[in-house]
Amino acid sequence: MGDPTRRTLHDVLRLLDDGTLTSTQLVTESITRATELDRLGAFQVRFDEAALAVAAEIDARRAAGSDVGPLAGVPIGVKELLATDDGPTTGGSLVLDADWGSAGDGAAVARLRAAGAIVLGKTTTSELGMGSPDIGNPRFAQFPVPRNPWDESRWTGGSSAGTAAAIAAGIVTAGLGTDSGGSIRAPSAFCGVTGLKPTYGLVPKDGVVPMGWTTDHVGPMAVSAQDCALLLQTMAGHSPADPASARRGGIGYLEALCGSISGVRIGVDRMRRVGGAVEHADQPELFDAAVSMLAELGAEVIDVELPHYSQLVSAAIVTTLSEALAYHGDEMANRWEDFFPSTRGTIGLAAYFTGADYVQAQRLRRLVRREIAALFETIDIVAMPTASIVATPYERINRHFESGEFFAVYATYWNMLGNPALSVPIGFTSENLPVGMQLVGPRFGDAHALRVGDAYQRVTSWHLREPPLPRA
């Protein structure tokens, strides 16, 4: 295992603030590292020159004593599913209109940029946030398939694959992902980084290629929960361009990180009834150790069982695929062969669902949301594995459904409910592969999840471990 030496976003901000490092040096480091590790496939496109120009400008303003913003000078990666001012957005797909996203930054990216963050590049995504990569198919050769920095014979997981790889590899300390069924939390867990799916509507998603309007979320990925809190604080708040964005905001997520979880009631669901068949042998012990640590920190641990688990996962699949087919149906009818085989083979399944199925899924959503709200009357946080599996070997990428691995990632349930869910690293298997735990709060209780994750990370160093990659 590596030494706990990884720099967090907060470390980098301190170094910039005290003059140990300039933004130009930091961006140059990131560019060098990204170039050295290009084989990982973390970036779809980089904006090296533009990033250096912005860094120089920020350095000059900082030197002149100007207010440069809370994220000033820090390079970040932005998932290729989000539009930015820097250039076209492909969504990792051949089919997206060439002018999609021509309006530039959506609210989330614009707010990070206004705070001084520098977009180093667009990070690789599974096609349209949905499909598995298609390795070796020359038709799709322009879309890299990220390799996991912890074991390059394995995938990162998706779909926010490149952001997870870039953070794990130490190219950037933070970035943006999207999550419609675990796309922030699964790659975070598989790459040993920290990722938050915020409460539905808390971070606006204008400028994001839609997959399922009901289940799509934008969220931060970083080294630590503290880093995620800072990014969330920057991005949260209503945007008139996203009609589903909530009229909430102004919460001090960083201030909520008090370091104490004494008396916090944590409902634990180990999920062994669901993923037992494919679970990694080391996962239960690692998860139990993490729960024990929360108890040592003063939390009250209570066993719970999430209500209607498998039914709500089915409802999530019916909902997201139906909405994806509604959005992409015309293109699928006309350009079938331009979609990745896994994407068309997945979205196409929505043809088998009926309008009544879709409505029934939304009825179930209301029922379970009530049940979960009642559960949160008795507990403050749910702790559960992010997944009971580890990163998938490269050659099995396209067999997620058949192998049962898709259902051993316990993320989709929360996309239907909208609750905030944070994935934090909790240890490594015997093969040195990272494992994650989800900390789920009540809706708009993002601060609770971040507080517990931060308290855990103050007494552990799993999130600071570096993968076995060469250092320049």
Binding site: Y200, G201, W213, T214, H238, P243, A244, S245, A246, R247, R248, S310, Q311, S314, A315, I317, V318, L325, G329, M332, A333, W336, E337, P341, R344, G345, G348, L349, A350, A351, Y352, F353, T354, D357, V359, Q360, A361, Q362, R363, L364, R365, R366, L367, R369
Partner: protein, 60 residues
Amino acid sequence: VTLSDEEVAAAALARSRLYPDTPQERDRLTRSYSACRQMADDLWRESLGDTAPLLLPIDG
């Protein structure tokens, strides 16, 4: 008239204007029909009484 799952699946794909371009892909998609219906049928396992659908929130 009783249709096979394969026939129903093919009709559903055609209704959505989805035409897999190889027999292998068409077979793979139509073979998934029963698993998808099982998943959808799971939603109807119990009565939801008067529960109304919770649709996408608009304007927060």
